[in-house]
Symmetry: C2
Amino acid sequence: MATPAASVANTFEPDGPLRADAALAALPGYALRRAANTMMAELSSRLVAVDLRIVHATVLLLVGERPDLTSSEIGRIIDVQRANMVPLLARLENDGLIRREPLDRKSQAIVLTAAGAERLAKVRAITEQFEADLMERIPAAHREHFVPALHALGG
Amino acid sequence: MATPAASVANTFEPDGPLRADAALAALPGYALRRAANTMMAELSSRLVAVDLRIVHATVLLLVGERPDLTSSEIGRIIDVQRANMVPLLARLENDGLIRREPLDRKSQAIVLTAAGAERLAKVRAITEQFEADLMERIPAAHREHFVPALHALGG
DNA sequence: TATTATTGCTATGTGCGATAGCAATAAATT
DNA sequence: AATTTATTGCTATCGCACATAGCAATAATA
C-alpha cells in the first residue's frame, strides 16, 4: 500500500501500486504463486460470511459428496496429515457441522449433520460465485486454457 | 500415498494416487491452489542446493536488480511486513549474502555482498531452469495463455 | 515550527505443517 | 490359525509464516 517511494521506479507501472518488481513479474512461477495467494485471500474473505476457513469449507464440500470418508482419507485427498486433521475436524465437530459414525472398531466416517448440510449449501453458493468471478477476471481469449494448464502442473 | 482403500472409489482415476476428489478437481480455484503448492514445493526442493528458501531467493533476485532497496520497500514488493523482514534479512546477513548501507540517518539500502552475488548467480540458474520446466509441463496449446491469465488474476 | 508519516526494530500471539510416538485394530503373510 | 505388517486416530511437540501493537529515531509535510 501507500506510495512506493522507490528511488529506482518500476519502469512498467510508473506510478501504480507496487506489485511485483519487473524481474519477478517475468517469472511464471512467481506469477502463479501471487495469483494463488490473491485468489485464496479473496476466497477467505468471502468465507468469513459462513465463519469457515478454506480448509474447513473444502472438507464440507468433500464429505457432502461422499458420506463415508474417514479422517485419514480426507487428509490424503486434501494433503493434510492425520495429526493435523484432528484439530481441523474437532473444530467442525464443535461447531456441530459434522458427526462421527463408526465404520468398524477402528475407523469412523465423517458425516454432515443437518447444520452441516445447511452450512454446506451456503459454502456452495459462495464457492460457485467465487469460481465464476475468478474465471471472469481472465480475458476471454485465455480463459479456456487456464484450468487445463493448471491441471498439467499437477496436484 | 499408498493405496486409497476408499470404500467409495474415485471414479476417474480408478487406481491411481488419490489426488483431488472429483468435486474439488472441478474448481478452478482449487486447481490454482494445488498447482501453486506443487510448483512451490518443487522450487523449494531445488533451492536446497543453494541453502535458500523461496523468500530468500526472491530477495536476492530483487536486490540483485535494484541496489538501493530498503527493507521496507522489499517488504512492500514481496508482501512481507516490516516486522517480518527483520529475521528474513538477518538470515541473509548472517550468511554473508547481503550488507546494509546507510542511505540517510533513517533508512538503509540492502545490497549484495560478493558472496551474495555468487549465490545469486546460482539462484538465477536454478530459477531459470525451474521456470523453463514449469512451462514445458503445460501442453503447448495452453502454454502462451498461462502467464497472461495469471497476471489477470493479479498480484 | 509543529504535525504527521516512515523506518527499523522488539515482543508477542496464532495458526499451519511436519515429525515422532502410541495403543487399538485390521489386513496381509506364512 | 498365528504372526507380522499396516492403518487408524490420536497426543505432544517443534518450527515457521504471518499478523498486531508498540517504540524511538528520523524524515517529510503542512
